[in-house]
Symmetry: C2
């Protein structure tokens, strides 16, 4: 099985779904082919040097088709199918569990699933995030979308208005902090232990900065 195929989703692999009709199956395959071609080309020549035309050529489709499947070039590299899954996992947590504890739990789950799939792609994305501004911008955008999704969960857990300022700030500040973990991880060439970093980050956001140690 192609690693790219496996990378599409951490929990379930949509390409081996029950019979979907030829059309649907072909569409999924085309999507994955385009993505695989993109990753390969970027590995070979870098992000900027890789044009849509090249991607189309290697994926054996027309440039039009590439844009039909992905709205922008960045979207070919960055696709988040994780959010809804994490959200569901979050809702499945016991309602009386402390909020931050639930976050810790699903983050452990998510990182495990992620790294089990295709660590190289994960690292490549993070690396593109710190080197290519356009990719980074797209990451921030999806970060704020994640924040928006979190509102509902936070709101119902805390018994607050999901669209109230407090919940919004809480959600955004959380995902912002998590984003920074990802950046720091990539900037340090993935040498550090990601789960441990996440724990430290959550500690900071929960209890504030540690007291100074001289």
């Amino acid at each position: 099985m192609n690693p790219m195929t496996a990378a599409r989703s951490p929990f379930t692999s949509p390409s081996d779904s029950p019979r979907l009709g030829l059309r649907e199956r072909k569409k999924i395959k085309t999507r994955e082919t385009i993505r695989a071609a993109t990753y390969a080309l970027i590995r070979e020549q870098g992000y900027d040097a890789t044009t849509i035309e090249q991607i189309a050529e290697r994926a054996e489709v027309s440039p039009s088709t590439v844009f039909r499947y992905f709205p922008t070039k960045e979207d070919i590299v960055l696709t988040d199918e994780y959010d809804p899954l994490m959200l569901e996992e979050l809702r499945n947590r016991p309602a009386d569990e402390p909020w931050m504890e639930s976050v810790r739990h699903i983050l452990r789950l998510a990182t495990d699933a992620l790294m089990a799939e295709d660590p190289e792609v994960i690292r490549m994305r993070a690396h593109l995030g710190i080197t290519v501004p356009a990719v980074r911008a797209r990451m921030y955008e999806s970060m704020s979308q994640t924040g928006r999704m979190l509102r509902a969960a936070i709101g119902e857990r805390a018994g607050l208005d999901p669209d109230g300022l407090e919940v919004r700030v809480c959600a955004m500040s959380l995902v912002g902090g998590l984003m920074e973990v990802n950046m720091a991880w990539a900037e340090n060439d993935f040498k550090d232990d990601l789960p441990a970093m996440l724990e430290r980050a959550l500690d900071v956001m929960e209890h504030g900065l540690p007291t100074e140690k001289p």
Copy 2:
């Protein structure tokens, strides 16, 4: 005095600086002319409908010149000269003041200065941030730059490594939360009181979500 001119900086107005040589003065004027033209056109026809060519035409410069002054179209609208000033203000705070208290203080200062200058431009920027994806992306980028600048200040205040994960997460989570305040403010058509919102946001980030009120 042109309102656009005043909007360039909240603390000092660089265009009426001591004799700078004709060249320098002309450069500043051109910058402001381009920005004013851009704002005017966007007001008339919206962001996307406004092309660089139109901007150049109204500002009476060539398109090349526009790009010489601003790297991207978004940068014409969004220019942060505030960061360094806020950073300096932050350093001037007493070293034993609680960290969050300092933040509250400079935020009060910044909002006051901002709104005193040209509220319409401020609102327009925030509005573009929630309507134009490219502008929003640029805002996120400068948000993370602000976060990066904050690291040093936070680090020295807390006696921690400015590049350590804890400080990074703290900074990013803070600016993320503040960014969300700006978004919420704009989404609610600027009807709410910005300083009050900032207070509430800082409360959340300092003490967590308020206990539920049934």
